[in-house]
Symmetry: D2
Subunit: 347 residues, 4 copies
């Protein structure tokens, strides 16, 4: 399964083409829409007040309710946008955004309205593609779920069992500990009040991948495959498997996962490796954490440069922005992981 995402925030439409979807899958489009609704803003005061209908339409690859095996094209038409808001920032790149890098790459030709192709809105078609991938995985007994593992230093409870995680994804604020979730929400609202934003992290697990998938080699490595999908999600700046950064603080005797036999199956009694050894799945859940940077769009004045004159200047970003992108990014990270899991399975 290969995908190509297209669209700009203020263009006619955003969408995705997904090639190699197995034929004959009864695609649950309401479930695809449900995943899109998970990432939609406006559900909680911690998110932007912008309204995005985000209705997905299928242009191809689906016939009589089933996937045909031909490329599946899904599109979300953009409704009217306030494009005027962005004229002022055309030549004054917003710190932390792709504006400057994109300006140089395109020699000034990029669609600068609302972030254009760099917009977080582009995670909507990714979420749709991931929702299809999840349905493909379900037929293989594979399930993907994530939770907010931390926001501004406030940490959720550690990753739960499959059943507990299945419960989490239905929550509007997907955490294991609702008490910790409340603290996180306070931290977001506080940042919002101060015209600022906060970062965090998302922990995700893929349950049900059999042992023996992948290879140590470049291009075949399970961690490398997941990372490639995850870093294509805007705002992801780090990807760590299993114990992740904590490995740097560990001794081998702590880090190594002891083998044991459980119900006749070889398992490890801990999962510091995050389900991958030597680039190959070991049958335990594939677990990783993705670090999400704070939303770069903040209303506080910031230092920038006017690219026309080459002179330093101040920029103030107006408009409605998420003070924290982490909660809305949970289904996006799951989507990227689902596509990666399909790749690892050779689907």
């Amino acid at each position: 399964m290969r995908h190509m995402i297209f669209g700009e925030s203020h263009g006619p439409a955003i969408g995705v083409v997904l090639e190699g979807v197995p034929a004959g899958l009864e695609l649950d489009l309401e479930r695809v829409q449900w995943e899109l609704d998970r990432r939609r803003p406006g559900k909680d005061p911690t998110a932007t007040a912008r309204k995005e209908a985000d209705r997905v339409e299928v242009l191809s690859g689906l016939f009589a309710g089933k996937t045909t095996g031909a490329p599946l094209a899904m599109v979300i038409y953009n409704s009217d946008q306030h494009s005027k808001d962005y004229e002022s920032i055309r030549y004054i790149p917003r710190p932390g955004h792709g504006d400057y890098a994109g300006f140089i790459k395109s020699r000034g030709a990029q669609d600068y309205r609302g972030g254009g192709h760099f917009s977080g809105r582009l995670t909507a078609p990714l979420t749709a593609a991931g929702a299809v991938a999840k349905q493909v995985l379900a037929r293989k007994g594979v399930w993907v779920g994530a939770h907010i593992s931390s926001i501004y230093g406030i940490c959720d409870a550690p990753l739960g069992e499959l059943e507990e995680m299945k419960n989490v994804v239905n929550k509007p604020f997907p955490v294991l500990s609702d008490a910790k979730g409340e603290e996180m929400r306070q931290a977001i609202l506080e940042a919002k009040e101060q015209q600022d934003s906060v970062g965090g992290a998302i922990e995700c697990a893929v349950y049900g991948l059999p042992a023996g998938l992948g290879a140590p080699d470049f291009g075949c490595n399970v961690e490398g495959i997941f990372a490639q999908y995850l870093f294509a999600v805007p705002a992801v700046k780090g990807v760590d498997f299993g114990a992740g950064a904590a490995f740097s603080l560990m001794r081998g005797s702590e880090a190594n996962d002891p083998f044991a036999v459980e119900d006749g199956r070889v398992v490890t009694t801990t999962n510091h490796a995050g389900g991958v050894n030597g680039g190959i799945t070991n049958g335990m859940p594939v677990v990783f954490e993705a670090t999400i940077r704070p939303t770069p769009s903040i209303s506080l004045p910031q230092q920038s440069v006017d690219l026309r004159t080459g002179e330093e200047t101040e920029i103030e970003i107006h408009g409605r922005h998420d003070p924290c992108i982490v909660p809305r990014a949970v289904p996006v990270i799951e989507a990227a992981a689902a596509l990666a899991a399909c790749a690892v399975l050779g689907i």
Copy 2:
């Protein structure tokens, strides 16, 4: 430039084929050997006492001292190995190693001697390929250097300027702060005494990449490209760009890198983004940290399973192993980064 690495620890040879090397490069083979020597064991009491000559030989792609543009094949013939040592562990996977995952993948057919294709020895051809990539990059004004950023929680000084980093790579124990390096060495020796091992992290920077390379899209994303190369290095469990995991603790106002003008060039006054915004280089050094897990090979008894009988058992690993792989991994991480930088440059 595409590469394929082959070989097993106890087979006749290990090596790499590097396709797409630009023609006409006067290849400095001594410099390639010098990089291999950097990762060679036996230089320091903190490393394994094993002797590995690791002399690289070029089989193709080089003529009259210059690359021809045809695939460059480099090979390192293995000298005699103590293959008997490994017979005992054939069916008893070592915790933390790829033994079990590889056993399932190959249905028992893998070369189990010395880790086989999973061996850390396979980083030698990767280092050789990276040494070639570095020479290709040098012609473009791009330089790659790394230092040990932490071992067992002891942190080196923060990443230095280009000139300081150029000095670090010549050190046998590549740290910026030699005092911190001494502490790290003590931590390693202590672990060694206790038949244990320790993990750490390596910070690496690529200087000189122009702004505007890459794209936000899957497969073109600079961070995704680097990650794919880095996770193909055994023992790497996390890859974080710029501020990395610290982004999760930050506010937008701290995380955003302010733009400024310096010598007529647009720069950022901080580099929390690690040189990449929106998947595209922004002209600042591309900086990342790779987490290296503790060497799984420790002499302490560990819990495993006998794959023949399906019963739990204990395993004791004998032989000479690195109590900490981090110092020797520094040139390997640089090599992976150099290959990634070539990919980003479209070489």
Copy 3:
């Protein structure tokens, strides 16, 4: 530049996403439409009487008239179709079509209406993508043009010079010799009267590619790259470069292209090699011929099998079909060649 084509003949839309289009290109959309009009039916009694408006719309990647460097999505909405016509053939595969192979692949789930994703209509988005590629190539001084080289054994005059070829592509029936073209048209009309169809061949040349592109190796080979694009065009069954099949009748002394110097440039006095030696361009035009099979859709009764009962049966195909697809395939072959030329140029 990578592309993904989607859509079905009777679905809501067909289209293409083109990734990696250089930014800043002033895209001439009328020229794109002009190329689509070249392949549109209904211009000549030799083609199907079906009406296809085929208006291309851009959904992304274009801003203020210029390409942005972000994925360019182009879509053609399908107008109402006579979907009933096809119900009868759902389980009775049409000989020569992809019906049976597609049925097995999709286990009966494919969209069988009008050929679904196998329809010749899918060459419309390919033509659009190629029209963009041609504009990219124009900036590099590269021009692509084709003519009908034969239909049912009636051969056109041999490939002309660049100026002559530029004239041919404007003709409704693109041949060098209009007299031969008239003979071909008669052969098509005769086949049509007899409820049959005819095959032919298209010769195409890419002018202006510099020498030294490509490599002999798998995946980098110029002929292999072109072939991959060309065989993705429905109905193409053979691809031959330069003298092509005639090489099998030749001696080396005839086949070898003598080198000469012309205006200070090294050229060959003949171009039997079709511009490629050792998988690398030699500076002469890249010339190839693509064999186009006769349209499989004919009204004559044919032998088939009812896939429900597994019994042999007869099939009669109704509806309006092209008695010869070759004339309409000319801009399609050019489009595939233009995309291949971009790939060879590393665009």
Copy 4:
């Protein structure tokens, strides 16, 4: 399965790395050597008198007689060569060879001795890789075989049944009709006497591929996949499936393969499509013909250019060359087809 071929005619070694070989295959190395012997010169007066031992050695990926699933590296060390012979042609490209294109690509840095990386010798590692692929395919019930279909216009009998083809591959001069083979040999010897060479064609069939593999889309198309492997074989200038170029002379009523039921299986009573419809296998043998250009190395004087002075000059090529490469190319074409068949099967 991905492969990378390396080496030069007069370098230390030539070889191939084959990634993704399924683990646990008992590799018959004598059979690999047998395939190499099939392409070895010196068996027949129609071939070059050069001696090439071509002993294949395995450097990795094989353990205790079985493939391990790790990259399989095979190498053939070059014995001493007459390198002096080639000094004279360093700057005077041989017509029909890759000399000039390679010179431009490498800006003069290529290994010009014996064709360097462009040498037909590089088909030896390809043959070895294909021999491994054939053993992988055998476990899936797939068999690949080819015969000389024509030399200098003298045509062999048409493609035979599986059993007949199995007999052909054991012949030193692999044709179905030995009488025709004798005529071909005469044509070769006549050309040889006249210091010239002749071209021809090879027809190859892949038996046993199930229906439903592939897709119409770019990159997934069965014909496109085969073509990419075949055009990477030096001297292949055309690839035609099934009826091939003859499609251009046909009507649809002749070209379409009628469906029938045979032993409960859906088959076609003819195989003009060469086993592929709509880019997907239809269960019939995949059949194609590859056109092989005459050996460019001929002793007759030819017109060339001295690249140092830019002046026209004559070149005479000395040394021992094949007056016809077609017979020795038969196992090479089979090898390319076997690798393509693995790709189509997703191996």
